[in-house]
Amino acid sequence: MAQSSLDVLLKGSSGRNTRGLLRVIILCTIAAAAVASRLFSVIRFESIIHEFDPWFNFRATKYLIENGFYSFWDWFDDRTWHPLGRVTGGTLYPGLMVTSGVIYHILRFLTIPVDIRNVCVLLAPGFSGLTALAMYFLTCEMSTSPSAGLLAAAFMGITPGYISRSVAGSYDNEAIAIFLLVFTFFLWIKAVKNGSIMWGALTALFYGYMVSAWGGYVFITNLIPLHVFVLICMGRYSTRVYISYTTWYALGTLGSMQIPFVGFLPIRNSDHMSALGIFGLLQLVAFAEFVRAYLPGKQFQKLLTAMVLLTVGIAFSGLILLSVTGVIAPWSGRFYSLWDTGYAKVHIPIIASVSEHQPTAWPAFFFDLNFLIWLFPAGVFMCFQKLKDEHVFVVIYSVLASYFAGVMVRLMLTLTPIVCVAAALALSAILDNFLVASSPTPESKAKAATEDPKSLRSTRNPVVGIYSYFSKSVVACSVTLYLLLFVAHCTWVTSNAYSSPSVVLASKLPDGSQFIIDDYREAYYWLRQNTPDNAKIMSWWDYGYQIGGMADRPTLVDNNTWNNTHIATVGKAMSSREEVSYPILRQHDVDYVLVVFGGLLGYSGDDLNKFLWMVRIAEGIWPDEVKERDFFTARGEYRVDEEATPAMKNSLMYKMSYHNYQNLFPPGQAMDRVRGTKLPKESPQLNTLEEAFTSENWIVRLYKVKDLDNLGRDHSNAVAFDKGLKRKRASKKKGPRVLRTE
């Protein structure tokens, strides 16, 4: 009978095996979907590294492959930050490069001939498959429902909030860090549940890996102590917590100190002090618990409480003393600006200038998370139902991460995992109730036990079940609709918003066909092929990594913004008059200057739109020589047309952007298509630089810095003289018209 053979498959031990197999198949499918949805850019364009930071990571990985691990560890890079150089080996998170290096060598060992570029391009999608898996494990720890883990894995696999940082080619630290984040949290929950040293040590191991991979490890460093602290405050101290936390803290701190870039920060920096403080507090609480077990009598306990409070007070004031005297470094600026939201704008404009450090408007939340965003609070609410130790973790993580994501767009990435967990909890609670085939009968009603009286008011009555098939089908259909909509939304967002390499731009021609704008690579390859190997290129810091990676030429500043003064120097050179800029260029051995100009094409991310940040950063160092006010007209407008301020018109950036641009148009009709304004008739006059190369769509413009004049004149005189000669010759043809002009 078919019925009984199906029963064999679905019931008993073979039923369990069937479900296990199904689960494995589903997880593999989810992982495959996660990888596949990240391949848009490879299919549309090519297997190429995206954006800015990935180009540095790619270059570092190539260095690692070519020179081996130890020279990578000691790498001093003299081709960036000219003339300072950068101790690259000691100032990066090596986890990403080492990971792809290991994968590369394993593939080579298996005699699979693979290019390192393809390993780097496909690393992020590969790891996102693993993240979905880690998500499954994490969510399974939170819920007894069999569907919650699978739902969470599926959400995590395709939600745009995570895809935004992990499409193919986006070879950045976050590519592996989110997997490590989720997996570390899974191990931590496991450790707290079991109170086992093994799980605690594993947590520390993955925490160490995380530290080596991403600066966001500080999130874990503070979240786990906070979890423990809240547990203690709730009176939930137990030996399980003690064992797992002390194991994690001791091993994890030792592990994190092995990374040269982190070094002694875990014991010297305020960002890490909460972990140390909770470690001390835990010892005190453990001691108090121990004594309490042996000493009866209320007086002793009171004494004990007083002692604990006193010790905590002394330790706290000691901490304050140490930070005041400077033994412990204060909060790092980036971290501090999360709490005091106006801090960065005043004190560290370079942080405030980055677009991903801006606060998040609500559409961005919905864009990145779709319907998960409203399932999220419901899921958090459900955590209060049982409120075990792991649920406390979910609640803390949710509140904290929502705050961070609200302050900085970039931190949406840390919010996404917990949103997926909570949303999956909420949705699985619905599905588990509405997808049961059998309806409740009076017997089952009697059987339903009353729940924990401490629980939420809404869940005090026993669960009965859903009676009618009609209500089941209504809810099931609408949920299915929402899920389908979610998939469509994710695919649409990924394909439209997150799959552009930004090195290669795409636009549509009137007939609908795709038009590839490849100006960046055109210009970088021009540099590579037409300039000497050590020609120094000056550009705004955004393009430093790309020049290093694609053109392989030394740069003055790059996206590793470690030296604000050096960046301000470049900002000053760009925003000053030529007479001021030229000595700066000479002093820094600059051979070529690169500017990005979008006026012809309407490409809005160009240098003139970023120009005010250059001015601001330069003003931070030379407030007397560069003034932001000078670049605004009397009415406070930022203009580039005829009414632009003299400071604007004479700045090097303005001149380089519009040099010869007017010649493209009929006289007097030059248009800037980004700023939508008409330009002055006359093209600005450049004296100390000469145009070396301009890409097809004028996006990248390269200027060669002139050498000193052979006759010892200054450049403006020399240019005027050259021009004068030409004019004379032209006038000769027409014959003498004017003999002398007064």
Binding site: T341, P359, W362, A378, A405, K445, N461, V474, D624
Partner: protein, 326 residues
């Protein structure tokens, strides 16, 4: 022509002689007038203070603090300006470095505002000395335009840069003893209250419903862009140009204060419907009632989500998805 020149020469000689005598007095007089804060000027004293020759720096702020003018910046900056003048006058400084701080309010100095053709306030002017060791060739005042809220420290460092090199008194913010005392009192009071009310407060603090409510409200606020409002100081609502109110800002990167509240409410309704479907409905024992509840909540969920999608579509023009009703 000639007589005029002679007259002019004569005048200038006379005034030079006069001023050579009067300048030290002028400085001493204003110095004594000022006591600790800035000198309050009117049109006449402003002209006198800034008239040439002078052997001191005159730092004058032209402001409009009266509520009629609605100059928020002026009023915000007033205590900061006091602080600067006070710090300078009380601090130790080189003997030959003479600086007078003055305030000219629009009410007292309309003529000066007209003469300088000032459209905005406040404006800070620094008049360098025309005689003495720090005299500058061109006696034109240096001008600082206020573009936004600014702290005393930033202004003070700007003023310092206009003065000659050398030691200058630091900017001293007086310690707010009142605030410290208040904080300590409040702290102690709250400790006492907690200790006394402990048995009554404990069940509230341990109440799970309360914590659930707090967490949910926090999450809803943060995910609906409240921090963006706080940081960017967005307007609460704006007009739509036709006399009505526009609740939703155009564009993906903009939002209004009220808009975020609407969105938070939408999220709250959706979440609550989800909670009701997942937790409450399965606990209902009445068959008919349960059926009705399921239908109502499912309809609420569907309708609200549809509305949310339509709002999002309005914000993001190219968004292709929607649900039927809206």
């Amino acid at each position: 022509m000639k007589p005029w020149t002679a007259l002019f020469l004569l005048l200038s000689v006379v005034s030079g002689v006069l001023s050579a005598q009067s300048t030290p007095d002028k400085f001493a007089r204003y110095q004594s007038l000022s006591r600790s804060g800035p000198v309050d000027l009117d049109s006449a004293s402003y002209e006198e203070l800034t008239s040439e020759p002078r052997d001191y720096f005159a730092v004058v702020i032209l402001t409009a603090t009266d509520a009629r003018f609605g100059c928020l910046l002026c009023r915000d900056f007033e205590p900061e300006w006091d602080l600067i003048a006070r710090s300078w006058n009380k601090g130790t400084k080189p003997d030959d470095l003479k600086v007078v701080y003055g305030t000219l309010d629009f009410d007292n100095g309309k003529a000066v505002f007209q003469k300088l053709m000032l459209q905005t306030a406040p404006v800070l002017l620094v008049f360098p000395p025309t005689i003495g060791p720090f005299a500058k060739v061109e006696g034109d005042p240096l001008r600082f335009d206020f573009t936004g809220p600014i702290s005393a420290d930033q202004i003070y460092s700007w003023i310092e840069r206009q003065l000659p090199d050398g030691p200058k008194p630091p900017l001293v913010r007086p310690i707010n003893y009142m605030r410290i005392v208040t904080t300590i009192t409040i702290l102690m009071a709250s400790v006492t209250v907690t200790a006394v009310l402990y048995p009554y407060v404990l069940p509230i603090v341990q109440n799970r419903n309360l914590w659930a409510a707090i967490s949910l409200i926090a999450i809803l606020l943060f995910t609906s862009g409240q921090m963006f409002n706080h940081i960017r100081k967005v307007p609460y609502v704006a007009g739509d140009g036709r006399g009505g109110i526009s609740y939703f800002a155009g564009g993906f990167q903009n939002q209004f204060g009220m808009e975020t509240q609407i969105v938070a409410a939408i999220y709250a309704v959706l979440s609550f419907a989800t909670i009701a479907l997942a937790l409450k409905v399965p606990r209902m024992e009445d068959v008919k009632g349960q059926q009705l509840a399921v239908l109502i909540w499912a309809a609420v969920l569907f309708g609200t989500y549809s509305f949310l999608l339509s709002v999002f579509k309005a914000k993001n023009g190219g968004y292709p998805f929607y649900l039927p009703p809206f």
